[in-house]
């Protein structure tokens, strides 16, 4: 059982490229998560991610800077091609990475059976949000940490932590899945490509932007118009869960507005709730985002013990957020 006087929470930061990994390490990340350049990771966008050599170099660099590296192999293996996912685990183990983040039973099983010394984290894509589900993964595969799905409020996280013996990691900043992670087929329904299998939500080859004569930006996915932004109005990602639709005669953001998560104000409560690690989303983001967000949250986490004022640094992050807006999401029960 963890004491309420918890030790400092670990800051887990994204890296889509070796350059971003270096930026995250320089900005004070305790751990950096990244993926291989194929469909084994859930940010499989063109131009992103690491070759096996880049991963090994990245691990060496991060370790020199005192940061850990966690390798996300967090999609679900394609039937008949499970070996690609198993090889990704082997590559991660060989790179000297500190842990693998996985969701698929087959991937977890391979890691647990063949790399017993490799630390396993349960990806948010597994959507394990009950003590029973988390214990299943811990007992079956020796999972040491679970990344919690974004469905729980802070009091629920505190209650959960009292019932389990594994560490918990929660998202505190960045893109926000509105649907339960790993349990959403909206993108595949529109495009035919499953994020669970290919690692791409709203695949860019199915995204189309047009700006009309009035400066109105129309975003289409798979040929469906899913959002419209007036001239000068802040835009968001072309994801269905943050698109505009018509229901009951009203048109608007039925699921969620274009908005990003910022749980900065809840860091103290999350620490008291027994959370071990704080995760920043954004492996698809640039070095400017990494440096800005990681730096600000480094200050914020440190301020819990040193009393510094991270306010201005956190305030400057608004421009990095979708639609220029932020939310505490499901951490506050009223979001539901």
């Amino acid at each position: 059982m963890r004491s309420t006087e918890a030790k400092q929470m670990e800051l887990v930061c994204p890296a889509g490229t070796p350059a971003a990994l270096r930026a995250a390490a320089e900005a004070g990340a305790d751990a950096i998560y990244c993926g291989l350049a194929n469909e084994t990771n859930a940010r499989n966008f063109p131009g992103l991610n690491f070759s096996p050599e880049e991963l090994a170099d990245g691990v060496a660099f991060a370790h020199r800077k005192g940061s850990k590296v966690l390798v996300a192999i967090n999609t679900f293996a394609r039937a008949g091609d499970v070996d690609l996912w198993r090889e990704a685990v082997d590559t991660a183990a060989q790179s000297g990475a500190d842990a693998v983040i996985a969701a698929d039973l087959a991937v977890l099983d391979h890691a647990a059976s063949n790399h017993p010394d490799l630390r396993l984290h349960l990806s948010v894509q597994a959507a394990a949000n009950t003590p029973e589900a988390i214990r299943f993964y811990a007992d079956t595969f020796g999972v040491k940490r679970v990344v919690l799905p974004r469905v729980l409020s802070v009091p629920e996280i505190a209650a959960l932590n009292k019932e389990i013996n594994v560490e918990t990691e929660v998202f505190v900043f960045g893109g926000l899945c509105v649907m339960t992670e790993g349990r959403c087929s909206l993108s595949s329904y529109a495009t035919g490509k499953s994020p669970n299998l290919t690692g791409v939500c709203s695949p860019p080859e199915h995204v189309d932007y047009t700006e009309d004569a009035d400066g109105r930006l129309l975003a289409r996915l798979g040929g469906f118009t899913i959002d419209s932004f007036e001239a000068g109005q802040a835009a968001g990602y072309p994801t269905l869960c943050k698109g505009q639709f018509t229901a009951e005669g009203k048109t608007g953001y039925l699921f969620e507005d274009p908005v990003s998560l910022n749980a900065f104000e809840l860091l103290g409560e999350l620490s008291k709730a027994g959370v071990t690690a704080l995760k920043i989303e954004g492996r698809q983001r640039g070095k400017a985002y990494i440096a800005g967000v990681v730096g600000a949250f480094r200050k914020a986490v440190d301020s819990l013990s040193d009393g510094g004022d991270p306010g201005p640094a956190i305030g400057a992050l608004k421009a990095f957020s979708e639609g220029g807006r932020q939310t505490a999401g499901s951490y506050k029960k009223t979001w539901r």
């Binding site: 889509g16 490229t17 070796p18 350059a19 971003a20 350049a37 966008f45 063109p46 131009g47 992103l48 070759s51 880049e54 695949p203 860019p204 080859e205 995204v207 189309d208 932007y209 047009t210 700006e211 930006l217 932004f229 001239a231 000068g232 109005q233 802040a234 835009a235 968001g236 990602y237 274009p258 698809q284 983001r285 640039g286 070095k287 400017a288 985002y289 440096a291 800005g292 730096g295 400057a316 992050l317 608004k318 421009a319 990095f320 957020s321 979708e322 639609g323 220029g324």
Partner: protein, 185 residues
């Protein structure tokens, strides 16, 4: 940290000064530098993926010309052309010149520029993403782009940082002045 370039258009005076400059020597220089970069960094070619086969247009809002980019490893080149002559491009990226420069050297985050509507994308989104992500990895400081290393690279980077900083400040000031003038009239 730079997060908000929204008011950073080049003053019209700068644009009109640039307009009559001779294009061929600029094209030749940019093409040579790009070719050298691509030869130096084969990892970037892997990242670019399909982009190496398609022309992409970079269109600065506040300059009279567009840049047509071909990143074929055997024949990379940069063409400077009229904004109306980018029909070949499979994808078009539009943004103020300083925002584009900021993307190139990693000062700005591409998604944030997109959210703020400073950056607009037309055509094949996947090519723009691949290019953007590759540029992130390229770490294109001016020194890197010119193929410099060590002290000379540091020297060029410092000077251009200072220069760009001043240009950005100037652009913001003149945009601000523009705004005030509009409010007065």
């Amino acid at each position: 940290m730079q997060t908000h370039p929204s008011s950073e258009s080049l003053p019209p005076l700068v644009s009109s000064l640039v307009a009559p400059l001779p294009k061929p020597p600029m094209e030749a220089l940019l093409s040579t530098l790009t070719r050298r970069l691509v030869a130096r960094r084969p990892d970037l070619i892997r990242r670019l993926g399909d982009v190496v086969r398609v022309p992409i247009a970079i269109v600065p809002d506040d300059l009279p010309h567009a840049f047509l980019l071909s990143l074929d490893p055997d024949n990379s080149r940069v063409r400077i052309c009229d904004k109306s002559r980018i029909g070949d491009a499979r994808a078009i990226v539009r943004a103020p010149f300083l925002a584009l420069l900021g993307l190139l050297d990693g000062t700005y985050d591409g998604d944030a520029l997109f959210f703020s509507r400073d950056l607009r994308i037309e055509g094949r989104t996947e090519h723009v993403l691949a290019l953007r992500n590759t540029l992130e990895e390229a770490d294109l400081t001016p020194g890197e782009f010119f193929g410099l290393s060590g002290q000379s690279a540091d020297w060029v980077n410092t000077i251009s940082d200072k220069l760009l900083g001043q240009v950005r400040a100037f652009a913001q000031k003149s945009a601000h002045a523009d705004c005030s003038r509009q409010k007065l009239s």
